[in-house]
């Protein structure tokens, strides 16, 4: 079923919307959650919460890119569960990705208001749009999907050392870019 029809089911409050979402995007949601959470039961719970969150968000919203919409919900909920579980020692891949990102910033948790947060997000988007498509994809797969480097390497066809090297340079470039734009890191 195509995405527009699925969204229409949500709008009609037809519970088939969830079944269709699970059928089409269940695997993607489990993939994202699995990259962040190590326990299968946590993953299953978060995936189910994702469907519920989508049910609660639509209507009111009518997402233009449903795949991204549902992925983002899964990602955010998985990260919340990660925080809740204090899963720093449970899933090395998620920790590795976060530790890598920590290189770009000061490490001091600061209070961000909504406007500042949106600005940083736009800047990151702008930075990524400037990169070649393949590098963008590698960055996003690592830091949005939390995909393991070995999997990215196989998917893209680069050696692991090349992927690591590329990510390292991109993190450095992102840091410089954000600092140049006046973002307090």
């Amino acid at each position: 079923m195509d995405d527009e029809k699925i969204i229409e089911l949500y709008w009609q409050r037809d519970e088939d919307a969830i079944a269709e979402t699970a059928s089409k995007y269940g695997k993607l949601c489990r993939f994202i959650c699995g990259n962040i959470l190590s326990r299968p039961e946590d993953c299953e719970e978060v995936v189910n919460d994702t469907y519920l969150a989508a049910w609660n968000a639509i209507p009111r919203q009518r997402p233009g890119r449903f795949a991204v919409f549902i992925s983002r919900i899964a990602r955010n909920l998985a990260l919340k569960r990660y925080d809740y579980n204090a899963a720093a020692k449970r899933n090395p891949e998620a920790v590795c990705s976060l530790e890598e990102l920590a290189e770009c910033v000061s490490g001091r948790a600061n209070v961000e208001n909504e406007a500042e947060a949106r600005r940083v997000e736009e800047l990151i988007s702008a930075f990524l749009w400037q990169q070649p498509e393949e590098r963008r994809a590698i960055f996003i797969r690592r830091y949005w999907y939390f995909e393991p480097i070995a999997d990215i390497s196989r998917r893209i066809g680069y050696s692991e050392s090349k992927v690591k090297s590329l990510l390292s340079r991109m993190r450095q470039s992102l840091k410089e870019y954000l600092e140049k734009e006046g973002v307090e890191l």
């Binding site: 990705s97 994809a137 680069y158 050392s161």
Partner: protein, 483 residues
């Protein structure tokens, strides 16, 4: 901001970026990186008109035709290129080399060196010498036109190191040479290795033509490329045998060797074997049977038998034994017959001088450098290393020769035996022991190890067989778990 907050910000980037990344990951038939760049480069050449002629032939089999009005190559902007104008070659480099390399001319106008800038800087800080280190490859010209056959001649003076054929012109043959010594520091090894791995992807454009990709010559008939997928005729024949045997249901049920595989030298039994990996599991295919190997054992086999052995031009004989449920791999690096260890040492060593240091060579097995301040110098060399891998442990036994050099005379003072054991999962965890000096005048079987006082009392004789028995005895005594 902390990393977790940054992760949240990344989570809310433009939907189109995520969708694009999602779609790219789902592509089933994706051109390989190499194929894409090839396609791009080939497209460039195709766009140029037909009104040019080749000035260089890939392998000079006939008189090279003079170039007639070479058309300027218009390479797409996204390709990373460097033009060596003196020799008329454009290199198409890997995209991600942009900003990471430098090019310099050395020795002569026909010698170019390409280096990693980051690695060179680090090497310079470490060594205190500028403009050294970081070299990825160099290109130079031999003043003769080489055919492919000539280029492959292992005795050709141009084959002193691993190289690739670029092209031949009326003036000579251009070869790309890989670095043959360490060019990086510990912290820059990863950067260096990543670029080194991509040298094989470099393509060449000369006189408007994209040159055919050349093979890499390693100095041996068998080529083991970094990606590990190339077999010689023996390996190919084996593969066919293995597949046929599997199809008939013979041997252990094991995946047919269809993925990466490596050819190895003959075993002591005279059978060629196949080393390969499939679905994350390593195997040794021998005599119709597939033996699963632990990864450390596979790595040990591959490194010890392929890279090291071929690099040193040594033959390696090895035997894989299964006894009492343990898998043992015994490899022996042969350094020739040994009738008289001391005489052998003294005849094999050569002393040369370089600047303020003196070097002692013992074939490919030892290199000792000393500062010559006029006093007798002492050093040691390793002889007859024998290794045995059992499960995740590696055992090595070697004989150490201690010598003294006075003037140009070398004298072997004593020989000791050294045994080491390391965990292949944690190579830094090494235990070992060194025996006292061995007694030259006593047969191997009468050596009393590990404690011994051995005055040097003259002539002695060790046969190769006796030396091998000695190391077996040593291993058995000190590491009985091997057996």
């Amino acid at each position: 901001m902390n990393g977790r907050q940054l992760a949240d910000r990344i989570g809310n980037i433009d939907d189109r970026l995520i969708q694009q990344a999602q779609e790219q990951g789902q592509k089933k038939a994706r051109l390989s990186h190499r194929a894409r760049r090839w396609a791009a480069a080939a497209a460039v050449v195709a766009l140029m008109g037909a009104s040019f002629s080749l000035g260089a032939l890939a392998f000079a089999k006939e008189t090279v035709v003079e170039v007639e009005v070479p058309v300027e190559v218009q390479v797409p902007a996204e390709l990373e290129t460097v033009t060596l104008s003196d020799i008329g070659i454009t290199l198409i480099l890997p995209d991600d080399w942009k900003g990471r390399y430098g090019v310099e001319q050395t020795w002569s106008d026909n010698h170019y060196r390409v280096y990693s800038t980051e690695v060179r800087e680090a090497f310079g800080r470490w060594s205190g010498v500028e403009d050294e280190g970081g070299m990825l490859f160099y290109i130079l010209k031999w003043n003769q036109q080489l055919t492919e056959e000539e280029w492959r001649d292992p005795y050709g003076e141009w084959n002193y190191a691993r190289n690739r054929y670029i092209m031949a012109t009326k003036d000579g043959t251009y070869l790309l040479y890989y670095a043959s010594d360490v060019q990086f520091t510990p912290e820059t090894e990863e950067e260096y290795r990543q670029m080194e791995d991509e040298i094989d992807q470099i393509r060449f454009v000369a006189d408007g033509a994209l040159l055919e990709p050349s093979v890499t010559y390693h100095g041996e008939d068998r080529e083991l490329l970094a990606s590990g997928i190339k077999l010689d005729e023996d390996g190919l024949a084996l593969l066919r045998q293995a597949e046929a045997a599997l199809a008939q249901g013979e041997g252990q049920p094991a995946p047919a060797p269809q993925s990466d595989y490596f050819s190895v030298s003959v075993s002591e039994a005279g059978n060629a074997c196949l080393l390969y990996q499939k679905d994350g599991q390593s195997y040794l295919w021998r005599e119709g049977r597939a033996l699963p190997l632990t990864q450390p054992l596979f790595d040990r086999l591959y490194q010890g038998i392929t890279e090291q052995a071929y690099a040193e031009g040594q033959k390696v004989k090895w035997q894989l034994r299964e006894e009492n449920g343990k898998q043992m791999l015994i490899s022996r690096f042969l350094s020739g017959d040994i009738k008289d260890i001391r005489r052998w040492y003294e005849e094999t060593f050569s002393i040369s001088e370089r600047e303020e240091q003196r070097y002692v060579y013992m074939g490919e097995n030892a290199l000792v450098s000393m500062v010559d301040d006029g006093t007798p110098q002492q050093g040691l060399a390793m002889l007859l290393p024998e290794t045995m891998a059992v499960g995740d442990k590696l055992y090595a036994c070697c004989l150490l020769g201690f010598f003294t050099i006075e003037g140009d005379e070398l004298r072997v003072d004593s020989v000791k035996a050294q045994l080491i054991r390391c965990d292949l999962r944690a190579p830094d965890a090494i235990t070992g022991m060194t025996s006292d000096q061995l007694e030259f005048d006593k047969p191997v079987g009468e050596q009393d190890l590990p404690s011994r006082l051995a005055p040097d009392i003259g002539e002695y004789s060790f046969s190769e067989a006796e030396a091998h028995r000695l190391v077996d005895d040593l291993l058995e005594q000190v590491f009985p778990e091997c057996f």
